[in-house]
Assembly symmetry: C2
Homo-oligomer: 290 residues x 2
Amino acid sequence: METNFRASFEEERKKVEVWFTLLRDKICEELEELERLCLISPEISPQRFQRKEWKRDGGGGGIISLMKKGRVFEKAGVNISTVYGEFSEAFRKEIPGADKDPKFWASGISLVIHPRNPHVPIVHMNTRMIITTQLWFGGGVDLTPVFPSQKDTVDFHRVLQETCDHYDLESYLKFKKWCDDYFFITHRNEPRGVGGIFYDYINSGNFEKDFEFTKNVGEAFLKIYPQIVKRYFNTPWSEEDVQHQLKKRGRYVEFNLVYDRGTKFGLQTGGNIDAILMSLPPMASWEIEA
Amino acid sequence: METNFRASFEEERKKVEVWFTLLRDKICEELEELERLCLISPEISPQRFQRKEWKRDGGGGGIISLMKKGRVFEKAGVNISTVYGEFSEAFRKEIPGADKDPKFWASGISLVIHPRNPHVPIVHMNTRMIITTQLWFGGGVDLTPVFPSQKDTVDFHRVLQETCDHYDLESYLKFKKWCDDYFFITHRNEPRGVGGIFYDYINSGNFEKDFEFTKNVGEAFLKIYPQIVKRYFNTPWSEEDVQHQLKKRGRYVEFNLVYDRGTKFGLQTGGNIDAILMSLPPMASWEIEA
């Protein structure tokens, strides 16, 4: 790849940006539809996403779409961003291709959904394309139920497996393991949730194939998550269920602030705080047994 | 100092351990007294501390004293611990004197108090003695009000200044600045609270003098914090005040999980999770403006 990377891959960059915007729109519509379909909590009106643009010092920016205090979604954030500039000295060694030239370009979509109903799982999805002197795709989708159900876990993984198999028959097990290893709360010796897929540094040499995989990961999320939401969104819950949910959300905060690479990366590179910490739950608790 | 450090400083080690235990008892009594003195929230019975011992793999352990769901203190944790063993390879370079010999001994008291009433400030206090091939004291006290009051801040700092001045006329400004620098949430460009003191690697060559300072820091906490609690513990609060409190507690979580050295140290060295994360609030929120 040429050093003059900003001028190169112009068509590819345009394509992925357009896709992330389109996916964002589809996801927001789908989640708003779920708000309208939910029959319980009639005292809470179905909510819609509110958008807020942010600019990044050094180049680029993004748009946060946030739904707050919805009937189904207590907090749902979908962020799309395209940022570019130069990596700081400290990061150059950590990022493939950045040691030769610190310039980078990155575009992606990232979402975290914290449902109100403790029976509806928390979910995270992120896909991105990054260009340094190299170009690659990364991403992941993972589910964090408060009360895990084998059926949900199996169905969630099946859709992801189909998506990976369509790309390449070796990827699913690799990306599933990567997810299990990555979303692990070491200090508690427990996984964040029931897994999913996680991948990075994807470049098969065939841009169209890799980009199609990226699109399919987004479509897989759209196929399975609303299904799982619908299984539980009309299920009543108890105060005790809420206590379990708040505790699970506390674990989510611990993972994201102590281990998550994206969060650390964002905080250290002066990213937009609201976008980086969009993943944190509206409310969480830490009650210890002593 | 001799390499055979476990046999050395026996008298000093005994003295500091006894002090931390005594201070713990005094603090718990004082906080329980405040529970009984508070006149509002009559539906909540005054609570007492519950103790739980923990053992550390590799040597030593501690006792957590925890008060939960009190009338004044929604969560108050006081931990004393004495731990010893060998630092892992990774830590040897970071800890004074540990590069020559990885053996260490450390004893300390640590407390974090999350009051129920948003008008009563959160507080943290910690003092400790550490022995490697060197011996030193460290510690700190800092106040985190949801609604800062100049009078509280001035009074809190005055007591700490008197304590430091009694030790040495140069220390207060140094320890105050250290606190301001340390308890700073870089990614939000905001301090955690209104400061206090923070110090480490204290060894004047006079053990008795340094130990007296450590004791005086504990006494300073006992002198000023209950006073500040009494100023507000009968002040009614609104739901909006609670929202501000939950947001401030969210910031507290961010600081402790992203930056706090003690927390990182504990999580990385397989410390007791309940003791390390005792600092986290019973409930916190993240609501973003978008």
